[in-house]
């Protein structure tokens, strides 16, 4: 089980060799069943032999044992590559036509170079559409510098689409929604988490997976209302005194964002 305790244990081992083993810190929360752990033991024996015996090798081996998550690398020929890090779960190249056609075309042109990998090989495949309505919505809320929510099971999400606040429940029809600056709220039981996001996109898939991508998101309690008012008045002034189109557009954006902030704070 990779949990807090393991993480702190790892934290203490890495102090011995900071510049190398440090790179192995920072684990996602993932749970391994007993059978998977046994499977992992056998997998992890494979790649470890290929690491050259550097001074960090023993450290690496210990840490790598604990770090290997459930990944489908058992099947992949890429087991020949070095230790799998927990974030890059690698899936074997799709049997789908796109990848194999690409590999074919590649081999004709550059037979001596390995074809480059493509992003789909780094992703876990999404589950197919279930036949019955799922009870929970799985939400991935990502920002450029962090993944706020990753596969969180929630009851409902309300996103600020450009056409207004849109509520997403499990079983929602597949949608691509463009978002405008506004309030995003995540409802889990009686818990409501509110964020103010500055535009982005929201995808809802047929398997009750919702991906929300935002450029910037702030929890509501970190916003200072006084600053918001000040910004609003400043931008309204700029809008009134703007001369060129681009200035007007910028000022308009500022006004929009600040008024959205205002209504988010009050509403």
């Amino acid at each position: 089980m990779l949990n807090e305790r393991t993480r702190t244990r790892l934290g203490s081992t890495t102090q011995q060799s900071p510049n190398f083993a440090f790179t192995l810190c920072g684990l996602p929360d993932s749970k391994l069943s007993k059978s998977d752990q046994n499977l992992l033991q056998s997998i992890s024996d494979l790649p470890i032999r290929l690491i050259s015996e550097t001074p960090f090798a023993t450290m690496f081996r210990q840490v790598a044992h604990r770090l290997l998550t459930r990944s489908t690398t058992t099947y992949s020929a890429g087991a020949a590559a070095s230790i799998r890090r927990p974030y890059s779960t690698e899936v074997v190249a799709d049997a789908s036509s796109g990848d194999s056609a690409f590999v074919e075309a590649w081999k004709k042109v550059a037979p001596n170079i390995d074809p480059p990998k493509t992003p789909i090989q780094y992703m876990e495949p999404r589950p197919p559409t279930p036949s019955t309505l799922p009870s929970k919505l799985t939400v991935n809320f990502v920002l450029p510098y962090a993944a706020e929510l990753s596969k969180a099971e929630v009851d409902m999400v309300i996103v600020p689409a450009t056409t207004g606040q849109m509520g997403i429940l499990p079983g929602h029809v597949p949608t691509i929604a463009e978002l405008k600056p506004g309030l995003l709220s995540v409802h889990e039981g009686n818990d409501v988490k509110k964020y103010f996001i500055s535009s982005g996109f929201a995808f809802v898939h047929s398997n009750s997976y919702a991906d929300i991508l935002a450029v910037e998101a702030v929890p509501l309690d970190r916003i200072d209302p006084a600053q918001v008012q000040k910004g609003l008045s400043e931008f309204t002034q700029k809008l009134n005194s703007a001369s060129t189109d681009s200035d007007k557009a910028e000022a308009q954006i500022g006004v929009d964002v600040h008024s959205a902030l205002n209504s988010a704070l009050t509403g």
Partner: protein, 324 residues
Amino acid sequence: MAMAALRKEGRRFAPLVSSPNPINAIRSTLAPTEEQVGLGVRSISTQVVRNRMKSVRNIQKITKAMKMVAASKLRAIQVRAENSRGLWQPFTALLGDTPSVNVKKNVIVTISSDKGLCGGINSTSVKISRALHKINSGPDTQCKYVVLGEKGKAQLIRDSKKDIELIMTELQKNFLNYTQVSVLADDILKNVEFDALRIVFNKFQSVVSFLPTTATVLSPEIVERESEAGGKIGDLDSYEIEGGETKSEVLQNLAEFQFSCVMFNAVLENACSEQGARMSAMDSSSRNAGDMLDRLTLTYNRTRQASITTELIEIISGASALEG
């Protein structure tokens, strides 16, 4: 005895004399009364080796320091690269991954580093870009390059100068953040016509392994075309579009956003790979320097001992010549 002592002193403080040829040296050991010639040869060989050792030792120190610097930079940027990995996944989940798409206007965005001494990652990226260029340039298709980074530019400008549309360097001068990358992406989108953008970069898997990767971003028209044709993006039609007046407007925004997100992740991953590659390159360099130093030390000791032995022989044979 006094002569020998004086001679020893002279040798230690003798400045670098122009080296007599080796034949002279051999003759001097056989003719023990020829002191000056033998003296010159001895001091030079150890001096040369000593200089060499000093420079190798300096190189070792420098590469060790560079490795430490790369390690600390790697630590900082790795966290950010990993956090940004969630950003491109929703797009791949929605639109699939179509590296083999057949389009008229291809643009290959090659991401490379600005500084050198980072192993083979830049050459790998350039090799992959060239191969992609070959795959995608046919009679009715065209393929252009957009190069990010000095090293990629230096390699590609040699043979593909006319195909390069845009060159951007000094990305990492300021702290890499999403705003900067989105401005960059905006630049590319405005100035380059494309049907498909293929971003080539090195994905950071671990400190010792970097995977060359290519991510494909399609223009909205091609997305529509592919979704009508079926295949992986086939079920795009089943998605309702919220927002914007028309579907194409939303798809346009989607494509631009996708490009900037994928670029952001790609640039961070490449920077990570660069630091990791530099770390291992500098590590092997210091190790090589250490090996060289060991060998030089052995040579130095051997030379030194040989010269001491020679001197002893000379003294002893000189002394015995005096007696007998």
